[in-house]
Each structure stands twice: as structure tokens, then as C-alpha cells.
């Protein structure tokens, strides 16, 4: 199983640990973080696959910066859909990936750093579903030109 899939499974495991009792906040917060990192590692690993020297791909994947990835994803998430109906499915999936990334990143930041926020299972299930949907959407479009452009732009390259 790929690392990003392991992270999603780990998020699900954590979110269900105390059932049917009340969840412990630490488990919910770590689940949100794992869901975000599932998508983060999927995208950075996919980008690294394009690097010619396989021995350098793990180092390449570490070049990505959360803030630059957010800036790029926010732009993609708010792009209007193309007029050409043939391009709409790929554009819609790409928007879903980018939008989910932005939402998950904010949730992860809150979960990791904000002790004043109380999480519920529904909130966490929703975040896990966002990550699962993003991963499924990515698998449909990963070979498309716009998806490959997105991977490059996530590094903060010039438009």
C-alpha cells in the first residue's frame, strides 16, 4: 500500500478508536493531520516521480513548501471551468484536488496548533472524506497535462 493510503487508513483508525464512546481530542487531531499529509505526500511523491534520478526523488519531494503549495492550490481552486465541455471533467477534478488541499491544510494547522478548538467525529470524518475524494480525483487525472502543470506549479514556479 502506498504511503498516502497508509496515512488515510491511519486517520480512519484514529477517528474510530474510541467508538462507541466519546472520542479523545488527541486522536481526532492526529487523524486530521494524517488526512492532510495523505494528500500532501501523494502530490509531492507524484511530482518527484518526474525527477529523472530515482535516488534523488525523496530529496526532491522535500523541496515542497506548504505555503507555496497553498498559494498555487488556491489559484487553481478558484479558476473558472473551461468553456470546452470536453475539458470540464479534468478541470473539475483538478479543482477538487486543489480545493481539498487548501481546506485540509487549514484544518491540519488548526488541529496541530490550536488547543482552543474542539473537534467532533463528524468534522474529522468530513476531512477524511475530503482527502479520499481528492486522492480518487487525482488518480483519474494524474496523467493529464493540466495535472502535471499543477505539480510543477506547486513548487512555486513562475506562471
Amino acid at each position: 500500500m502506498a504511503y498516502h493510503d497508509d496515512l488515510i487508513q491511519h486517520a480512519i483508525f484514529l477517528s474510530e478508536l474510541d467508538l462507541p464512546d466519546e472520542p479523545k481530542q488527541v486522536r481526532l487531531r492526529r487523524a486530521v493531520s494524517a488526512a492532510y499529509y495523505g494528500v500532501f505526500h501523494l502530490l509531492t511523491t507524484e511530482a518527484a516521480q518526474n525527477w529523472k534520478h530515482s535516488s534523488q526523488r525523496d530529496r526532491f519531494a522535500r523541496l515542497f513548501d506548504h505555503g507555496r503549495m497553498k498559494t498555487c492550490s488556491s489559484k487553481v481552486a478558484s479558476c473558472p471551468l473551461p468553456d470546452d465541455s470536453a475539458q470540464v471533467p479534468v478541470a473539475s477534478d483538478l479543482r477538487l484536488v486543489a480545493d481539498s488541499f487548501v481546506k485540509l491544510q487549514q484544518a491540519r494547522h488548526t488541529a496541530d496548533y490550536d488547543n482552543s478548538k474542539v473537534w467532533s467525529r463528524t468534522q474529522v470524518y468530513e476531512m477524511i472524506a475530503l482527502a479520499e475524494d481528492a486522492i480518487a480525483a487525482w488518480s483519474r487525472i494524474r496523467e493529464s497535462e493540466s495535472a502535471q502543470d499543477y505539480l510543477l506549479d506547486l513548487m512555486g514556479t513562475r506562471q
Partner: protein
């Protein structure tokens, strides 16, 4: 720095947010806060309490996606107001126990 319309014209934003009612089915309560997100970008956070039926895990994703789409299409937070939208969902029974002020 360009001021987001939501900050420059807060009364208009409130007017448009009030016009979101009646809320999509499954929504028991909807509140919002305008704040910066973790990286300092202006954002609107929606705090949405769902009926327990709409928050069932089997239908949660479908319902939340529908509600997010309706709000995003009606309000256009990024295009019209310069705000990145973030959504938080909770069930009525969870909120009854947690009594989180932000969810109302």
C-alpha cells in the same frame, strides 16, 4: 495591498450571507466568522450544524459537498468577496454535548 471587498464592505457581506437562507436541506444551523487563515489570507469560516440524519457517515460526504457547492455558488466567496471559504460540519447531537459557541 488591495483590501478584500468583504473587509471594505462588511455590511454588504452580511446582507448576502443573510440571503443564503433558507439553508440547503440537512442544515440545522449555519454560522460564520471572517478571519485570516493560517497563512494570513482573508477567509470566511462556516460553522455548520447538520441534522443527525444528514451527518450520518454514509451520507456525510455527499451532503457536505452539496452544501459547500450551494454556498460557494450563491456567495462566490473568492471571486466576489476576496475570502477563501472553509467549512466545518458537526451533527446536532455532537453540538448538544460540546456546546461550542462558534457553532451557535
Amino acid at each position: 495591498m488591495i483590501l478584500p471587498r468583504a473587509v471594505a464592505q462588511p455590511a454588504e457581506l452580511v446582507e448576502h450571507l443573510n440571503a443564503l437562507a433558507p439553508f440547503p436541506s440537512g442544515v440545522a444551523n449555519l454560522r460564520y466568522t471572517v478571519d485570516n487563515d493560517w497563512s494570513g489570507d482573508p477567509a470566511i469560516f462556516f460553522w455548520i450544524t447538520l441534522s443527525d440524519d444528514a451527518a450520518r457517515r454514509a451520507v456525510l460526504s455527499q451532503n457536505s459537498r452539496r452544501i459547500m457547492d450551494v454556498i460557494t455558488q450563491r456567495l462566490d466567496p473568492v471571486g466576489q468577496w476576496g475570502l477563501i471559504p472553509y467549512f466545518n460540519f458537526r451533527s446536532q447531537s455532537e453540538q448538544a454535548k460540546l456546546r461550542d459557541e462558534v457553532f451557535g
